[in-house]
């Protein structure tokens, strides 16, 4: 059982996950940010490895990805930065990014590197379920890496059941069919969708993401899931003037 699976076994509510782009705002900041987030009460982290063409992302994460790439970030640089991850960080860590950098790194090498530095899971939005099953699953499972799938309001029940069967940590419930960085509007439709998924009694716990930006949206999401994921709003907070550690603790204060 990896750290992520353990977390969900012990904690059923109010789980707070934070996404941020590796190598942003400055190339060497990756680990420093993780440490500050753990200290200020995040339950687990998603570290984004940047890609030149991030189609699922809105302007904030696109801009942070571009800046990180311009500063020299690559998957290899990231794994080097995470070499001593487990000396200071105890919470679960996921890597999130697009499939092409993983393909070029080599899926085998990628999974092994994740295991070696102590990464617990991955979110690769453009890796399809069919390809995951056929070509990647064995390698992920052999290295104890949980692959996280996304579900949207348009995902069919049959497909959600299949995703539930392939998942072994949690399911990432998108608040709406949208790119990242939009505000969550907990409309009647969204409530009906969350309630519908809740009622399916899936094997895996749910985390709600996309559009979660503050205490209020976090609390709304918590009514329907084990917790929620904050991305763009945090990346935006990172880009503010001042010391990174202070910006992080100021942002996290509203939740913890």
């Amino acid at each position: 059982m990896n750290r992520l699976q353990q977390l969900f076994q012990h904690k059923k509510k109010d789980i707070l996950s934070i996404y941020y782009t590796a190598g942003y705002p400055n190339l060497p900041d990756t680990l420093k940010i993780a440490e500050a987030l753990e200290k200020s009460g995040a339950d687990f982290l998603e570290i984004g490895f940047p890609y030149s063409d991030p189609v699922a992302d809105g302007p904030i994460i696109q801009a942070s990805s571009k800046q990180s790439l311009d500063q020299g970030m690559t998957l290899q640089v990231l794994f080097d930065q995470l070499k001593d991850l487990r000396k200071t960080i105890t919470i679960p860590i996921l890597l999130m990014g697009y499939v092409n950098p993983v393909l070029q790194y080599g899926v085998d090498n990628f999974c092994k590197a994740c295991k070696e530095v102590g990464v617990d899971g991955c979110i690769i939005p453009d890796l399809p379920m069919y390809e995951y099953e056929e070509m990647y699953r064995t390698c992920f499972e052999e290295n104890g890496i949980s692959n996280i799938f996304l579900v949207t309001p348009q995902t069919s029940e049959e497909r959600i059941r299949k995703i539930d069967g392939l998942s072994n940590a949690f399911i990432y419930l998108l608040s709406s069919a949208a790119t990242t960085g939009k505000n969550l509007d907990v409309s009647t439709a969204a409530r009906m969708y969350f309630t519908r998924i809740q009622a399916m009694n899936l094997n895996n716990p749910l985390m709600i993401g996309f559009g979660i930006s503050d205490k209020q949206t976090f609390d709304s999401a918590n009514e329907y899931a084990s917790g929620a994921i904050i991305g763009s709003a945090f990346v935006k907070a990172l880009s503010a003037e001042g010391e990174i550690e202070e910006n992080i603790s100021a942002f996290m204060k509203q939740f913890r």
């Binding site: 890609y51 030149s52 063409d53 991030p54 189609v55 699922a56 809105g58 302007p59 696109q62 571009k66 790439l69 690559t74 998957l75 290899q76 697009y98 499939v99 092409n100 950098p101 993983v102 393909l103 070029q104 790194y105 939005p125 453009d126 890796l127 399809p128 069919y130 390809e131 799938f149 996304l150 579900v151 949207t152 348009q154 995902t155 069919s156 497909r159 998108l174 069919a177 949208a178 790119t179 939009k182």
Partner: protein, 400 residues
Amino acid sequence: MTTHDKIMSYFVNEKGYYGDFGGAYIPEMLYPNVEELRQQYLGIINELSFQEEFKALLKDYVGRPSPLYLAKRLSQKYGANIFLKREDLNHTGAHKINNTIGQILLAEKLGKKRIIAETGAGQHGVATATVCALRGLECVVYMGEIDIKRQAPNVARMKMLGATVVPATSGSKTLKDATNEAMRDWINNPVDTHYIIGSVVGPHPYPDMVSIFQSVISEETKKQLLAQTGKDEPDYVLACVGGGSNAAGMFYHFINDENVKLIAVEAAGMGVSSGYSAATTYLGKEGVLHGSRSILMQTPDGQVVEPHSVSAGLDYPGIGPQHAHLFKTGRCEYVSITDDESLNAGLLLTQLEGIIPAIESAHAIAHLEYMTFKGDENVVICLSGRGDKDMETYMKHFKL
């Protein structure tokens, strides 16, 4: 479409792959849209009513069949019988309209009310805005901010046709970024919107669907060749390749004719080793771009590299998955032509035949310089578009 079922090896399989290439590498947010299309496209396209309407529009609105013209003075110069498939004579000036007519009819059958598209030079944007005006559908075209400045006449055309042109301001602000923005729009508008992709790229079923709509090019060519030469197989078929849609249509009905040599001409830009090139098969590696596994220009870390070509239509860092397969299997030969060579070929064709070609198409003409003929070979070149849009580039280059 009957051939599509019969011949499999160079065509897409039921999983959406051409050999090692293709598939649908898309985030879950796009899955329902793409899946709806995948389940329905062949059924809709094969309906008699669809075929009748599609063919009627191609005939009466686009002006098909486009002529297959034996270019006598060009033939004399190179010592072969060189036929030009005149896609430049289509309404809106290029082959792009074949695909947009097909897709707008398909979008209507799917009940979509809003159309989005990406465009580089604006040719596909104009072809999309045209069919949206024709059918009365809302049209939003994404175009790189830099391309909007470079291609003002096409931007004006799209606006006059009633389309909204949205600048793509991310990344390099060109075609690849316009494609990203169109995909983001589709993610944010999953129910009422159809995305008309302009080339044989994107997630399955787009490459197959677009090549089916463009296959009219080779379907007509075969009949025209038979009438003009007594046989429907030429010795060579040439077409330029950016994403590869005119080539896919030009090759479609020749792919299984083993005696026909297929040649795809990529843009070498300022030279394949100059750092300013779009010669994807030469410079690229296997990977995933815009939803399919193919060959693309990228860094060792898998970041997409910005291409260069004087011709905006070939200025794309990838090729469609079928092309990647034709390249890897060796069924088709991929060559490249520089900016200067293509411009010179454009001038040559203009002065020998009185046809000003699009610079894209001029790349295919330029490859004749590298071919040797015995004298009686039949060569078909897809003249995919006309050069009106490129006059500024020609004027600057030749100081006209």
